[in-house]
């Protein structure tokens, strides 16, 4: 189906089902229950899941396949965001031109950066990409303020030209839309104590992610993808096999840069704001962490990693003492205090600590990332032949059966 083998098609269907039903299963707790704090099914977070999923999928095409560790991919996301917001300010609030331009700008930018950086490999490559990204960030934050808005970033303003859109009616705000369908629109479904929010923006972003995911499967399973994996495996040898590796790595770099552009454009589409911080090195580091945390080189791992980090950032950081006290209200006073004071350092403002610990634990015990964890769990239940079902190493197995 769709030129995928059965296994990949199942995976795609699975991911499609998950993303389409995410508003439901991300809200497992009734709204008024004390565990509602853990519900992640609100539009902003769901949008972030899929947008950073796209970013990580794209990054994985470069890092997971070729092994080139870019420490500057956030720059492409940022460039895409700026392109999109300018398109919205100047042309129209419709997201299509914005996203198209963000892909183009990110693609061109990554072409330029990749062309120079790929002259080196290993950590030298990483530092080159880092240098370009940090330069972009520093300049965007300071001397390029007229173009980037600097510290405050760019948002749509009442007096923007927006050539294709008509004048705003009095009291109306410019909103990102897809031919009139506003990204912020939602439909709420109340079932018993549960409320599920179906948000237009989320579904548009989710469809983009499915397309991105599908494209990534195709790339993984293509001869082009094989070349990229060979680069990671033994780049030197590949030269003696007759492959000019630079064009391949550059193509991978640009493709992943364009993925970052899509993510950047979607970020602006979902939340009309572009700022320089999203180009800071920690943002580049974040996508590296997402990919490794989920499982570099696996198809679905980076998406999982992205979801995990964004969930912690948005959910764990919002837990405060009041909430903790409510949770442990059942406990006797002394015990409640103990429980609260034990957990408190790890939540709310301490969410970074939890994040750091999770990184360490995952890397120490699951070198293959979360995907390895799932495989281990899966392995307990079934004793199928061959190990990693999703990893690229297993990709040729269906062929053998033919």
């Amino acid at each position: 189906m769709l030129s995928l083998n059965a296994r990949d098609f199942q995976l795609l269907l699975f991911v499609a089902a998950i993303t389409m039903l995410a508003p439901i299963f991300l809200n497992p707790f009734p709204v008024d229950s004390s565990l509602a704090q853990f519900n992640g099914g609100y539009p902003d977070l769901m949008q972030r899941f899929v947008i950073f999923g796209i970013f990580a999928i794209g990054f994985n095409i470069l890092f997971g396949l070729t092994g080139y560790l870019s420490f500057g991919h956030a720059a492409f996301l940022g460039a895409g965001s700026y392109a999109a917001i300018w398109m919205m300010k100047l042309l129209t609030m419709n997201i299509i031109p914005a996203i198209i331009l963000s892909i183009i700008v990110a693609g061109l930018f990554s072409l330029a950066v990749g062309f120079i950086s790929l002259r080196r490999s290993g950590i030298y490559f990483s530092i080159l990409t880092l240098a370009f990204a940090q330069m972009s960030y520093s300049l965007a934050y300071s001397v390029l303020t007229p173009i980037t808005g600097g510290e405050t970033g760019l948002q749509p303003k009442l007096n923007d030209p927006r050539i294709l859109d008509g004048e705003l009616a009095a009291g109306e705000t410019a909103r990102a839309n897809l031919f009139g369908l506003e990204m912020g629109s939602s439909y709420d479904l109340a079932v018993g104590g549960w409320v599920f929010t179906f948000n237009v923006g989320y579904y548009i972003a989710a469809i983009c992610m499915l397309l991105a995911f599908y494209a990534s499967i195709r790339i993984f399973r293509s001869p082009f993808g094989l070349m990229l994996r060979a680069v990671k495996s033994n780049q030197n040898r590949l030269g003696y096999t007759g492959v000019s590796t630079r064009p391949y790595t550059l193509a991978a770099f640009v493709i992943s840069g364009m993925y970052a552009g899509v993510a950047g454009g979607l970020m602006v589409a979902m939340d009309t704001q572009a700022g320089a911080e999203r180009m800071f090195w920690t943002a580049s580091g974040e996508v590296v962490l997402m990919t490794i945390l989920g499982g570099a080189g696996t198809l679905i791992g980076p998406v999982l990693g992205a979801g995990m980090i964004k969930y912690m950032e948005n959910i764990i950081s919002k837990i405060n003492t009041t909430i903790l006290e409510a949770w442990f209200a059942w406990a006797p006073d002394g015990l409640q205090d103990v429980l609260v004071s034990v957990i408190y350092p790890f939540v709310g403002k301490g969410w970074h600590l939890t994040l750091g610990l999770v990184f360490m634990l995952v890397v120490i015990f699951l070198p293959g990332g979360l995907m390895e964890g799932f495989e281990k769990i899966g392995g307990l239940f079934s004793r199928k032949k061959g190990k990693n079902s999703d990893s690229v190493a297993g990709s040729a197995s269906p062929a053998a059966a033919e």
Partner: protein, 343 residues
């Protein structure tokens, strides 16, 4: 002219901080082959050794002073350091005043211990793992360490002054025959520079002139061969990790009077120190030191008002521009060896 001399001084001073951190990072990378993203955190912990010692020295008991009022209008609680009780106020003040230099004595064993514990407890399991895994686990560790510090010390910078004997600045200009006040430089920064020079010299001498150092250098060149010679290289590498941690820690201790330490100072230095190490050439100790000073001096020049008028924003990007130019013209940095960290 005066401006240039001044910026060279500045550059050397900045460079000495960069060089110290890069030196430790390179020691760890060169010996153990581990990319240590927690190195900045070690620098930060070193600085907090000084903060902690200062706090310990100023541990106080409270005396209620009825003549003064606190902000709520209650009698003021005056804190009197226990030190005063032991040594008297005058001597106590001197000890507190010198808390930063005294912390060096504390920091060396503490940092060695932390380094060895880190290596034995965590890093040694990552020798054979890909660099990406090393980066992730040490980055996780760096976050954990800085969050722990933040939990105990808060997020704000904590002033940790130098001994009052070193306040003020030395007038180089007057000494060299220029007009006074044109080339002045703070005493403590000169101390820092001298200190860095001593540490760097000591590390090099240690590697050059001791048997231990020779074995380690040989191990840096070719670990397997040294292993084949029946030399237990692992234990020496553990000690080297402790040493590198101590170097980073000392750099941190001495840095506290220059900039008040805060919990994220390590992260601020992390990217920069990697740029320094890579520009110098991965695994090259000399390269790390050279690149540290080079980048320090160039950064200082780029921050001159006259330069910024011509090239606005150059001060924002100078380190990265230099890194890009160096890496494109010298593939392995200034003094890098072939085949190190290229896959």
């Amino acid at each position: 002219m005066e401006a240039l001399i001044l910026q060279v001084l500045n550059g050397l001073d900045k460079g000495s901080a960069y060089a110290l951190i890069a030196l430790g990072l390179t020691l760890i990378f060169g010996t153990l082959g581990v990319v240590n993203f927690a190195h900045g955190a070690l620098f930060m912990i070193g600085a907090f050794c000084a903060v902690t010692l200062n706090r310990l020295l100023t541990l106080s008991h409270i005396v209620v002073d009825e003549t003064q009022k606190d902000f709520l209008g209650n009698p003021l609680n005056v804190e009197v350091p226990y030190l005063y009780d032991f040594f008297g106020q005058a001597a106590g003040d001197v000890i507190i005043d010198w808390s930063v230099p005294i912390s060096i004595l504390v920091a060396i064993p503490v940092m060695m211990l932390i380094g060895v514990a880190m290596e034995r407890g965590l890093i040694k399991h990552f020798y054979k793992r890909p660099h990406a895994d090393q980066i992730l686990v040490t980055f996780g560790l760096a976050i954990v360490l800085q969050e722990i510090i933040k939990y105990f010390y808060g997020a704000n910078p904590i002033p940790t002054p130098a001994p009052s004997a070193f306040t003020g600045s030395f007038d180089f200009g007057a000494a060299l025959g220029f007009d006074p006040n044109l080339i002045i430089y703070p005493y403590w920064r000169l101390v820092y520079f001298a200190f860095a020079a001593v540490i760097i010299g000591a590390v090099f001498a240690f590697l050059q002139f001791t048997t231990f150092g020779m074995v380690v250098r040989a191990g840096m060149q070719d670990r397997e061969t040294v292993g084949l010679l029946g030399i237990h290289i692992d234990r020496r590498f553990t000690i080297m990790f402790g040493l590198a941690a101590a170097v980073a820690g000392l750099a941190g201790v001495m840095y506290t009077p220059i900039n008040s330490p805060n919990y994220h100072m390590g992260m601020d230095f992390l990217v920069l120190s990697f740029v320094v190490v890579v520009v110098g050439g991965m695994g090259s100790l000399g390269g790390a030191v050279l690149a540290g000073f080079l980048l320090g001096v160039l950064e200082s020049f780029a921050s001159m008002g006259q330069v910024l008028e011509v090239l606005p924003g150059l001060n924002q990007v100078i380190l990265y521009v230099v890194a890009i130019i160096v890496l494109l013209t010298r593939p392995r940095g200034l003094m890098g060896r072939r085949g190190v960290m290229e896959d």
